[in-house]
Symmetry: D2
Subunit: 338 residues, 4 copies
Amino acid sequence: MDFSSDTAAPAHPAVIEALARVNEGNQPSYGNDSVTGDLRASLARVLETDDFDYWLCASGTASNALALSCLCPPTGAVLCHEEAHIARDERGAPEFFSGGGKLQLLGGDGAQIDEAVLREALARIDPGFVHETPAQVLSLTNLTENGTAYPVEQIRHYASLAHEAGLSVHLDGARLANALVHTGATAAEMSWKAGVDVLSLGLTKTGAIGCEIIILFGQTRSKFAELKARAKRSGHMPPKMRYLAAQAIAMFEGDLWLSLAATANQRARQVSDALCRHSGTLLVHPVHGNEIFARMDDGLASSLREAGATFYPWPGGSYRLVTGWNTPETVIDTIGSL
Amino acid sequence: MDFSSDTAAPAHPAVIEALARVNEGNQPSYGNDSVTGDLRASLARVLETDDFDYWLCASGTASNALALSCLCPPTGAVLCHEEAHIARDERGAPEFFSGGGKLQLLGGDGAQIDEAVLREALARIDPGFVHETPAQVLSLTNLTENGTAYPVEQIRHYASLAHEAGLSVHLDGARLANALVHTGATAAEMSWKAGVDVLSLGLTKTGAIGCEIIILFGQTRSKFAELKARAKRSGHMPPKMRYLAAQAIAMFEGDLWLSLAATANQRARQVSDALCRHSGTLLVHPVHGNEIFARMDDGLASSLREAGATFYPWPGGSYRLVTGWNTPETVIDTIGSL
Amino acid sequence: MDFSSDTAAPAHPAVIEALARVNEGNQPSYGNDSVTGDLRASLARVLETDDFDYWLCASGTASNALALSCLCPPTGAVLCHEEAHIARDERGAPEFFSGGGKLQLLGGDGAQIDEAVLREALARIDPGFVHETPAQVLSLTNLTENGTAYPVEQIRHYASLAHEAGLSVHLDGARLANALVHTGATAAEMSWKAGVDVLSLGLTKTGAIGCEIIILFGQTRSKFAELKARAKRSGHMPPKMRYLAAQAIAMFEGDLWLSLAATANQRARQVSDALCRHSGTLLVHPVHGNEIFARMDDGLASSLREAGATFYPWPGGSYRLVTGWNTPETVIDTIGSL
Amino acid sequence: MDFSSDTAAPAHPAVIEALARVNEGNQPSYGNDSVTGDLRASLARVLETDDFDYWLCASGTASNALALSCLCPPTGAVLCHEEAHIARDERGAPEFFSGGGKLQLLGGDGAQIDEAVLREALARIDPGFVHETPAQVLSLTNLTENGTAYPVEQIRHYASLAHEAGLSVHLDGARLANALVHTGATAAEMSWKAGVDVLSLGLTKTGAIGCEIIILFGQTRSKFAELKARAKRSGHMPPKMRYLAAQAIAMFEGDLWLSLAATANQRARQVSDALCRHSGTLLVHPVHGNEIFARMDDGLASSLREAGATFYPWPGGSYRLVTGWNTPETVIDTIGSL
């Protein structure tokens, strides 16, 4: 019963098999191999467009920071939620990659930016006032850090507000599949169709070894050469790129990534339901994806631990439990029997 | 006949098998897994010491730049050969990771720093002269960018000169195994026993998918917390580290990495001999490892290409041919028959 | 009636005279001149200690950012008030100088950090948790951005809390003289005696042309060589330093800086009183120094403007009026007569 | 007899008088004052054009680094002479301001870039090769670090080569007046008419307190907003800018700057002649401006020192002697009499 993180799970066997399959013969280095080339077709299907460029890296932190560094100059700022991963959990990666840019933190329930707060932040931007750092990017996260999902319409609305104010829009999709499964939206609807300019599409938490895709849409494709230069310079241009591309192709094949996310989401609901059957359990946020934030009786928390469960206490007195593609259905009975 | 680069080769099957083997069950994230822990014993055997800390990353550029950024402050400089990979082929990674540090480029034949040039550079350092950037690190490369190997005694001598001048010593070992095989030295003799403070030990070019190890020796271990913070912040703390560690363990097991390098080195000598049997071929540098730098008749170059060989022209009018662990012995007859 | 800013004022005549006086003969460059040397004695008197090093620069932004960059590594954060000048008005200078460090913004009334908020931020620091950026510096501002003054005891208390948590303490003293006059404390009591490690002592707003002094106290003096290297590298090592030092000496002579601040503070109180005599005027913050933050009737605001007054509207619906050393007493009658 | 540096000289009295003159009444801050505005007309006359934007700072290092940071992205490089001030004497300022850009050092006699070396460097640029940092700016220096002057035609020629290769052209004019006096060219002929995109026009060494002007010509004016943001963020937007502008206006009035440089140049020739009358003296570089690089008998060097002269030994066994606007004519007789 490991609820510590979805990154604690192993990779799905199909991913390992894909690595074995592409482990044949020589291939050009640094992304010029045929596997990385083949990924374009997979992505075009998933994203329902050809108007994109993409880059692969093994780290979600790098995926976000590289994307942001192409949109935000050192003299600019990124608007994001105050609990966003880029603000809380990446040890200053956006500041590092952007050369000293800022994050401007916005509030809102459930790790979702409040609309009034966003409007106020956008209204305050005055690029002519040289003393204050102007926001130049809006970064949203779906699934959010609190396990909630922005509906597509809200992303579209926020992107539209951002664009009107002259900002670009980035979507941190480290758990995009979980949000897609919950909302029923397609990856296209959740990204470029909603106005997202750059998507950090994560597959690691979904079931890959380590595979994140930075996708530049439409006009933002003009940043592709810069993105590659920044990737090279930051050590995110692995010579044998085919092993990243193979993971992505395996995950998209037959929409495996969505199936895995569906399982993880379902388990989270089941675990959440099982926990809520114990008196004293209170969900702090609705369970939209594969993360549960709940207050629990000390007794229940202890019983869970005694039963072998691992999970983290969370700021504010709750606990976080995360399910993964491989969380077994048996945990539900175990929790029920405590 | 792919002589374009050793990074064009696939991984050795043992590496893929190792990934499959560790792909079981959940493991703590971010390097706290048991596989990453197990790597310590492998490294201790290979390095003949326990006095080290280590970090894994998938990129040689990151391995070098992270190592250097812990030794060189933004106000300092790194001494290296003017053809060093960190100077020529990493798109300014050392400058980026160090926050604007400098590389001070030194000359010397065969991509090896000339002793007189090194002594002059060391003598010029005046930390009290605030206007000029003082060198604080010496970075050596073995195998060098020209495929030659520094003997252990020379590394020890240079490290000693550097230490006397107050500098730290970094060794870029992207092709360390090839240098070890050529010189007959052990990894310990070539690194900490010779005075190397930080080693970037590369396994990707030797036969891994993407696996580089940063090793801090002795007193430099005090930089380990900083190294991890810098790794996190630059996207080089992959959540599922076990898949990096498994590659390393597989490569060290039974000294596979040395066997693979021995094969590559032998092929390079054989290819070199075969080329030299054609009149007009001239080796620009001695072939110590798996790289050949040779001038060739246009006719021979064309025949090679017609026979399916890929290789790059090199600045100065020569060609570079690189062999790998998987270069088949048949290429020798093919070249002989041209 | 210019209430736009104290930086709109000219320099006090004594400052110009001081420049003329040192404009004789040649002097060593880059701070090695005798005038810069003489400043040590002035500072020792003002600071009641010899245990300090100092550096001069013409910019308050540089004075803060250079100081912070010696205390906060790129992987660290600075705690400051959310309205602090370093957060709001320096276009990301701390992030730039520190190489991508972070500011962690804390709330509190009157631009003073709330103690409970500070304690919570300090308690949250976990340097062992590599994902989150740990605070390493506490930066206070006195006079604050809202024109209020921290009493010495509070600075001492906050510095003590910060030190216990392993942080260094920086004091942004762009309007230090105004705070000293209000509290009756000496510069020593407000700085090193209260636990301040690095003081950015500003004289520009007080009446110099452009003169700010970075002062490292006690153990922080070990950073002096780094400070000079960072100053050089950022263009804050002017070759003819004597003209900066002369300004400082003139300002400290006979405690001119305190007299000028006393005048400015007195004018602010008088202006504030005069404004409050008009119905509908409400002070948003107490007037401790030379800044007034007040809500006013539209009518009064218009009358002031018609009478030739310049001042800025402030976020939240109030106005900011700033007095300077040269604000004439006549403004009181003018305001009274509106 | 101070030949240590032209920065050891005091300011010309007209500069101090100008400060006193503008020290009246309040003025808007941060460059919005009328004096800074008035400077435009002076500059338009000196530069023979209206097609420029300008920014003032007190430091030559900042003037160069700010200019370069607007032209060179973090992923790019600046071509300059290996003895250029930006490479040797600014402690990594270009790397810092550009966010980790590189300097690519070129050889050539007399601190002037050799044409063949320049052509080779330009030919090697391949922006499509992501691994290597492409040069994006050519930075020239006039007067050079060796006291020689590029003729206008050579600057025009080099600028034309650079532009053809897609680079921008920066001119470090810390001693521009000395070069203008020597060549007889106007500031316009030496800058925009010769293809210079950004000029760092120095007045400090010529006789100001500390006054350097960054001038963006033609299309490069599109970088003006970025320049201001970078100036703010690096502490080079002094609140009381009028005192910088007043220095510049005073220096341009009646072409004072050229008169002062003419005097310094004449003194250098006279001192050089006087030294050469002593046997054993050998000029290492022609004396075009106010700097003499000469080998001297130990006896002469000692006699000079005994006579009270200060000057520095220079790498390569020579000495550097620098004259200034205030070097008295009497030094010639003194040297003659040794």
